[in-house]
Amino acid sequence: MINDVSISYLIFLMPLLVFAINGLFLGRKSDKAAAAFAVAGNGIAMVSALIVAVHYFSSTFAPQKAVLFDFPFLSFAENFAAKIGLLIDPLSVMMLVVVTVISFLVNIYSIGYMRGDRSAGRFFSILSLFSFSMLGLVAATNLFQMFIFWELVGVSSYLLIGFWYHKPSAVSASKQAFILTRFADSFFLLGIVIVSYVVQSFDFFTLNGLTLAAFKKETIDLGLMVVSKADALIIGSILIFTGGWGKSAMFPMHIWLPNAMEGPTPVSSIIHSATMVVAGVYLVARLFPFFAVCGNSLTLIMWVGAFTMIFAAVIACTQKDIKRILAYSTLSQLGYMMFALGACKTGDAVIATGWTASTFHIFTHAFFKCALFLIAGSLIHQVHTNDLDAMGGLRKKMPLTYWSSLICVLAIAGIPPFSGFFSKDEIILAAFQGHHYVVFGLAILTSGLTTFYMFRLFFLAFHGAPRSESVKQGHVHEDFFMTLPIVILAVPALLSGLLGKGIFEHYFVPGRLRVPQLVLLPHAEWIPYVAVAVAAVALLIAWFFYASPKAKVERALDESNRSALYKVVYHKFYFDEMYYAVVRQFVIGGIARVARFIQDYIIEGILAFCIWFIHKLGDLVRYAQGGNLSFYLGTLIIGVLLWRFLGQLPF
């Protein structure tokens, strides 16, 4: 077990420090200093994370859970308190490493990418805040802490996506991202409240150790219905998953992710690889035993994941914006991870292959996806457009980028021996072992699609004749700061599978999970071959269409004479439009109108009526003051009679 905790503090303190210092002072003074400080800070964080990791995995203690530190934050009752701490187990250590490494490299990359931007200082500061929040989320020892950093992740992504706040598209994209995730988070919070009310604890240990049997007896009133506490837990688990649903941009809350491409590319890469979207998967993986006992919530998770996987892959095949293609590929990969977690449930039994596979895929995916985005970024930086139409023929101009992107593409395509192969293979296996044959088929199919669209992107970008002026005139070159991280990342993209497999098989042992009726099933040896075969076929198709000597690339690219189906897919099934129409206009707008109507007409109306009525009475009184003496004298007499009858005088 690690004996000095102080190093682990560094992991969190450094990014926070960078955020504070850059945000308050350095950012305004000089961008260079800010950048240097950011890189240094994140570097230290990375190193200390690696040290912690090495300590942990080399110690005999692994893979037990441990809590390095746990500060009391807010107590709600005896032993029902929210704490801020660092939880150490294989999963969190892995994530710590991934996050710190990725954010370190992205910081380096940003030196090149943000060069000359007016507010680079602000960028570096928020970027560190981003990684800090993610680290806090990863290290969470309890739901409350997780939610705190969950929100911080959301807000820093908002700030980064909308970094160029003078671009309306960027602003609206950031708003959409924040609000959609916030929408999901509100359910997350509700889930936390319900679960914590039932269990009287936020602690992951407690939650993961639960058995529903204890809660069958008492009932709880959820307002609309009265259910047993066990059912309340199941509802709560689904609500909690909803948080992950939105954060990981699962269908139908996926639309913010592609739009988030409006932000600077380093941001996209860090969002997609390490910091934001995997948070959802991480949440489910972290609470896996809890979900496992909570009825069929895992099955729901599986289907959500599977559908998103195929859905995104299909869209990705038709897109032209290079970053959007990558975005949809991320969606599809996240779908893999999600359903892998979900697929662990077979009837009442739970197989944990999926859990291992999913975490493994988080690990491998992080590297190559980050690399791919950085590559896209440098391409865009050179060609000044996101559009594949304008690229092509970059192989000669950017050799390093070319080769490293080849590695990454092969990795994501799941061709052995690249990293993607191992993790994806595990996932498909999990689906098979869980007897979810439909999902299994979809997974195989999607791996084919993945290979197709990734190679489509690859060929269109690098092969063929140059289609843009800047490439032809040959201004294109490789920036050192931007290429270095790509090359560095290519290495884990290549190897992390091979090396990682061992670690994951050993440490991420399902047996360690405290899951009831855990069954272990033998491998199905033939699955990898099938997967690879499909991938290879897809590769050939892609080559045939976009790279082969007699490929009509122009014809493949032009939009006219497309089938209606293609158009629908190309427009992402018109989801943005539907979202806009339904949610913005109908739901929010509608309720808002009604509310405003109630306020302005009903309430104010009643008020106005009261005032009017009082004034009318006043006029009555003043009308009596006509100045007519006879009438005045009359009032004396009337008064006497009036009080004689109304005065309740006993006679």
Binding site: Q625, G627, N628
Partner: protein, 101 residues
């Protein structure tokens, strides 16, 4: 001639005064009506003093005082009415409409 008769007489007198007050448009007429009402009260005093009251001097005394007081009240009233007549050149109450809401 009993107490009740006197009371009824007084009450009628009072009523006549009120009625006159309502009907009259002429200030002097109104003053006279008021006089009637005051005298109705006087009759009450006298008759109570005569028939029932344990301390009968008080009633008589009272009525005398009332007459005195009424006298000066009327004096002032007439003074005011005179000053008013200077303005309006008439004594019709209908003209007193300048002060109103």
């Amino acid at each position: 001639m009993t107490l009740m008769n006197c009371l009824i007489l007084a009450f009628l007198l009072f009523g006549i005064g009120v009625w006159g007050l309502m009907r009259r448009r002429h200030l002097i007429g109104m003053l006279i009506s008021i006089e009637l009402m005051l005298n109705a009260a006087n009759i009450n005093f006298i008759s109570f003093a005569y028939f029932s009251a344990s301390d009968s001097t008080a009633g008589a005394l009272f009525s005398i005082f009332v007459i005195a007081v009424t006298a000066c009240e009327m004096a002032i009233a007439l003074a005011i009415i005179v000053s008013m007549y200077r303005r309006y050149k008439s004594l019709d109450v209908e003209q007193l409409r300048d002060l109103h809401d």
